[in-house]
Symmetry: C2
């Protein structure tokens, strides 16, 4: 039997063909009018994609580079910062803040959980210079309530910094309305292109903070990058092919929104939400429990069924169908299965995942369900969603 390689992982995600071709064709020098025109267009489109009137900068780095840039540009040694940590990427904020000698207060919750407003409020003293959080914690599939956090810092001098690397394009944000100071994205997620680019938008008060913060920075100096961006340049050599790919992906979203990129992005979010809903419903029909009550559309995290390791489910799916699902990370390895709904995946992909999961699960835990139970459940959810779209 033939098997097509398929990525169902929360990054990298499946590549958009038009972006692949743009990448292959990107035979241009970065200090030319041609590149400047491309870059200015992409930067303008990214602002719409992020949903902000704030300036956006792009870095040739993985998402962690932009996280580091946020820490180094916004803090000074000894600054008190609050990190909300409930997973592997929350822990990355902790490591970064400590590496740059911040006085790091960690509000920590077990993997799979999120924070209540009260818990955050209790830690949010006026001397906290910045709060660092994930919009969606990729390691657990949990959505944190960014809107509520934004309410808490409103009118204070505390900056809110959101890692939305898997959040952008899977979650609705009102960046300017809510007052998110910094929001971070990566190329290999909902933008449907390979890893290698990160980007972030920063509010006026975040830009102002950078003028007084004293942590060291060079490659990730956002002020320098912002000045370059204004001219359609990057401070250092940009990853030209990835910029071209990103432009093609943003053009695709614009087409999907019939010429309106914001609408195309909203469709992308709605698509992720529908796929996540179908997947969750199918999982329940197969007797699989969600790992968290606060689930993001980005990633469905499922507890491995009793007596079965999620590592074996991942291996089985790869062997049988050449499809790549994600195991738990760190301490969660073997315990949870993670399935992404980010970017260039549609309902028929979602159905394919459920079918494959049924086959692999039946081998590891036979008789815990009937073939088709998960598929039927997803079909009913889709049909209902479709009827609602027809009515509206």
């Amino acid at each position: 039997m033939f098997r097509k390689t398929r990525l169902f992982t929360p990054g990298p995600t499946p590549l958009l063909p038009a972006a692949q071709f743009a990448m292959a064709a990107a035979d241009l020098h970065h200090r030319t009018p041609e590149f400047r025109a491309l870059y200015l267009k992409v930067l303008a489109q990214l602002k719409v994609f992020v949903g902000t009137s704030n300036d956006v900068v792009v870095l040739a780095s993985s998402g962690t580079g932009a996280m580091e840039a946020a820490v180094t540009n916004l803090t000074s040694p000894g600054d008190k910062v609050l990190v909300l940590s409930a997973g592997k990427f929350g822990e990355r904020w902790v490591s970064l803040a400590k590496a740059y000698h911040c006085e790091t207060v960690v509000l920590s919750k077990p993997y799979g959980q999120t924070f209540t407003v009260k818990e955050v409020q209790a830690q949010l003293t006026p001397d906290v210079k910045a709060v660092f959080v994930q919009a969606t914690e990729t390691s657990t599939g949990v959505r944190h309530d960014v809107k509520a956090l934004a309410q808490l810092v409103k009118g204070t001098d505390t900056l809110l910094v959101v890692d939305a690397i898997t959040g952008l394009g899977t979650t609705a944000f009102d960046v300017d309305g809510d007052g998110i100071d910094v929001i971070i994205g990566g190329s290999q997620k909902a933008l449907m292109i390979p890893p290698g680019l990160s980007f972030l938008s920063a509010s006026d008060r975040a830009w102002a903070r950078m003028e007084t913060s004293t942590n060291p920075r060079y490659y990730f100096d956002l002020r320098k990058e912002r000045k370059s961006c204004a001219k359609g340049e990057s401070a250092y050599t940009p990853a030209v092919a990835l910029i071209a790919a990103m432009g093609a992906a943003l053009d695709y979203l614009e087409q999907q929104g019939s010429g309106d990129l914001a609408k195309g992005r909203d469709l992308l979010v709605a698509n992720a939400e529908l796929c996540a809903l179908c997947m969750r419903t199918a999982a329940a029909a197969l007797g699989l429990e969600l790992f968290s009550a606060s689930h993001a559309a980005a990633v469905t995290a499922l507890k491995a069924p009793e007596g079965v390791s999620s590592s074996d489910l991942v291996k089985g799916f790869k062997k049988e169908f050449a499809g790549v699902l994600s195991d738990g990370q760190g301490e969660m390895k073997g315990q949870i299965l993670r399935i992404a709904h980010i970017g260039y995946l549609d309902y028929l992909d979602c159905i394919a995942i459920i079918a494959g999961l049924e086959q692999v699960l039946a081998q590891l835990k036979p008789e815990s369900f009937q073939y088709g139970d998960g598929l039927r459940a997803a079909q009913l959810v889709y049909a209902k969603a479709r009827q609602n779209v027809d009515k509206s």
Copy 2:
């Protein structure tokens, strides 16, 4: 909701990514040692793919070009030929034979049917110079019994010419053992690359016939092409990028067969057979009838359910899922739905088609089935096939 464009048509079929990249990279001149080396390799691989020790030639044309080449090279005006016609492509043989002034005897059967050995035998007088037939009639999904036809012409002076454009890679052939004189393929089918190339192999007696046949030919002169091929050249400018793509596709099949291209091709055929079996079983579970009792693995042709036009099923699938199914052709338009299992499609693609079909069918003919009926049926067939593979 997002929708990925997906071809489920019997040509063109989904493109193999490795072939797309080879095509994009094919920046070479055709009168060079580099191209000659590529072409000789592809021609040798094609012989394995076709399963013959006969010489194979490639033409820069659609499949119809190779059909025309077979007629013009093997016949003379006034020659008596027998065409077995039970569909659109059988009719094409009739048109070609008549265009080249053959005395054309047509054994015609209604769409959806095939020929009995007795019926063919009754027409097969010793003066018939050639029999023209399809291995799989793409317009109806019917498989004709090429092996039985080969038995009939064995030891006579009649040549057997088989259009296997959708047959190669979906059907097992013993070209030399059975004595198929000419067998024809096209690039945009099981070889997973775009249209633009046809190819055929010819037996010694077919090559001998070409020396005495008098029908006019120039571009499609197979003797000239054969001589060029021997040197790694083509008589006229070859479609270089498509040759490179074909090489990449044949390399892929070789990899699938762990270094054995014949084994890779057999896996491709087995894959088509499995997908076709799953599709037929799912269709039955959804109350859809097969159009023919003699069904090819290449194409599943289903009767439109009572009160529903197959054109509406095709349109609905395109609108809802951006997937392309095929309507009936010619007089069959609106009456049958055709779903291909040719080339780069795997079981999870098959599941996606069934899921989409359930959704579209439910809108046009609600309550004729329960959501998931087709999917469950396919899952059971797959699980059983898998167990058999494990046992063997």
